[in-house]
């Protein structure tokens, strides 16, 4: 009975509250256990919270980017048809893509900053690392935004498209991005989820900044290049799709 209550609460939070809050709370919970069990050695040679914080920050930024792009795009094309109204002014389809991304960026800048302050408060990160970690998280969020804007452009009236994307792509990506434990400990056949996930790349990068998690210089370049690739691919999907849909 007690068990069920616990699950119900978790589901409730997951459903209506911010999923990040949920991640955060179980992260801290598990963290306490991990630290206790490993005799204080933590994970990856640092306390669990230190290990977790960069991942949470990147998740928060990306999750925020998700909410701030998918919803406005669906609204603009389907629910309110606002994009069509805007497109009957001199504003072009590209301008609309940029507009959505800019709005998403502004909101993500704010929410990520708040989130980072919380992490700082809990001692998950240090003051000195705040800025580079912030930049990393925002870079990841923007790269991810570009792809989500493109994807959401394909969502149709009957609307199961985004649900499929969510279940088959986004969810596994988040699950296997090495958020709660090092990606190397995941079975190899699941690791590729992490490799394609911008979250893992951002997390790995952020960990390198935060506590000197060791990565080869070329991996660092790969991380940044991969995120940039997401942005480019995202725009390459979004531009023509928006143009096509608005000029049908």
């Amino acid at each position: 009975m007690r068990h069920m209550r616990k699950w119900a609460t978790a589901i409730l939070i997951f459903g209506i509250g911010n999923p990040i809050l949920y991640l955060f709370s179980i992260g801290l919970g598990i963290g306490a256990l991990v630290d206790a069990n490993s005799g204080g050695a933590g994970v990856d040679g640092v306390p669990y919270l230190t290990f977790l914080a960069p991942a949470l920050l990147a998740s928060a930024a990306i999750q925020g980017a998700q909410d701030e792009t998918v919803f406005p795009v669906m609204q603009g094309f389907i629910w309110d048809k606002g994009f069509f109204a805007v497109n009957s002014t001199p504003v072009s389809s590209r301008d609309i893509v940029h507009g959505v991304l800019t709005a998403a960026l502004i909101r993500t800048l704010i929410t990520t900053a708040i989130y980072e302050l919380v992490l700082l408060g809990f001692g998950g990160i240090t003051l000195a690392n705040m800025l580079p970690m912030y930049v990393t998280a925002i870079l990841a969020a923007m790269a991810y935004s570009c792809v989500m804007v493109g994807m959401a452009g394909y969502a149709s009236e009957n609307g199961s498209f985004m649900e499929v994307v969510q279940r088959l792509i986004i969810f596994p990506m988040f699950m296997f991005s090495g958020t709660f434990y090092p990606i190397e400990t995941t079975p190899i056949y699941l690791q590729w989820f992490g490799w394609i996930s911008p979250l893992w790349h951002a997390t790995d990068l952020s960990r390198a900044i935060s506590y000197g998690h060791s990565i080869e210089p070329w991996v660092l370049v790969v991380h940044i290049a991969y995120l940039a690739l997401w942005a480019v691919v995202g725009l390459a999907i979004a531009y023509p799709k928006f143009a096509k849909r608005l000029s049908a």
């Binding site: 309110d80 606002g82 009957s88």
Partner: protein
């Protein structure tokens, strides 16, 4: 001002607009008439420089909308068939934000928004969310919004659908005044009285093609007789009676609920019907209207 040559738009295999030709002159008031699915809105969207044509030519203000869309749109005012207001913004914010998309200054918009609120008779609703407006009020706001940039070409897709008679007449009056100021009007409508009142010239479309073109008076002259006699014999008997009176007038048209006899002199035809020993339940003689032109061209009544 607007010139279409073999203008065509297809959606997949389906041809919504099928090689139409027309020209609209500056300061003219031009109408598009046609039954549901005729391709009116599709044509309007192409003129509005949002929808890309599949083939043929289209020139607006001397520019190609496929290439210079934003530039052309700066001079257009577009009222779509379906309102697409921002539901979360207030009435005046809707006007203001839309104006900002045209790059208009805050200062200009401050007074412009007030004017448009007056025009739409929504001054007392200025602070309401647009989703709280009634259907007719939303329509009025959408129309007012399209005037924010003081367009050279004002395009209205079924502007008065959903408006009460008073609001309709106010809009007509306003459109007349815009026309006097030299604004070019492009209008689609299902209301024949509206078309007769507002349009200098119009095209009748059906299944993506133009069936006829001309001023309302010209169209009536070429496609209908001077008068129309409408007789009803009850829905079960109309078809049967029609056989007996075939040959009367210039032409007869059998509708489910009545028979129309087209003739120079309606009363004379009614007398002939009486002579045949037939007694209609009701009879009415009226002048021909665009409605009759429409029926003749498309085989359909307008109001379905």
């Amino acid at each position: 001002m607007i010139k279409a040559t073999d203008l065509t738009k297809s959606y997949g295999d389906f041809i919504a607009v099928d090689g139409i030709n027309f020209e609209i002159r500056r300061g003219e008031s031009f109408g598009l008439l046609g039954p549901n699915g005729a391709g009116k809105s599709t044509t309007m969207k192409m003129i509005a420089s949002v929808s890309q044509r599949t083939s043929g030519g289209l020139e607006i203000l001397g520019l190609d909308p496929n290439k210079r869309g934003p530039e052309i749109r700066a001079h257009l005012g577009v009222v779509p068939q379906q309102d697409n207001l921002d539901r979360e913004l207030t009435v005046s914010e809707n006007l203001y934000v839309y104006g900002r998309y045209f790059g208009l200054s805050r200062k200009f918009l401050k007074t412009k928004v007030q004017d448009l609120l007056e025009f739409a008779q929504l001054a007392d609703k200025a602070k309401s969310k647009s989703e709280e407006l009634s259907g007719g009020m939303k329509r009025r706001l959408t129309i007012a919004r399209a005037l924010v940039n003081e367009p050279e070409i004002f395009m209205l897709d079924e502007p008065t659908t959903g408006l009460d008679p008073q609001a309709r007449h106010i809009l007509w009056d306003r459109l007349f005044r815009l026309k006097e100021q030299g604004v070019t009007l492009v209008i689609t409508t299902h209301y024949m009285d509206e078309a007769e009142q507002l349009c200098d010239r119009l095209i009748v479309m059906d299944k993506g093609k133009i069936m006829a073109e001309g001023s309302p008076a010209e169209l009536i002259r070429s496609y209908s007789s001077r008068e129309v006699l409408e007789v009803r014999f009850g829905s079960s008997k109309n078809a049967e009676v029609a056989e007996q009176i075939r040959g009367l007038g210039d032409r007869i048209e059998v509708l489910p609920d009545r028979i129309l006899v087209y003739a120079e002199d309606g009363e004379a035809e009614l007398a002939k019907i009486h002579k045949l020993g037939l007694e209609p339940l009701t009879s009415l003689v009226r002048r021909s209207s665009l409605e009759d032109v429409f029926l003749r061209l498309t085989g359909r009544t307008l109001v379905e």
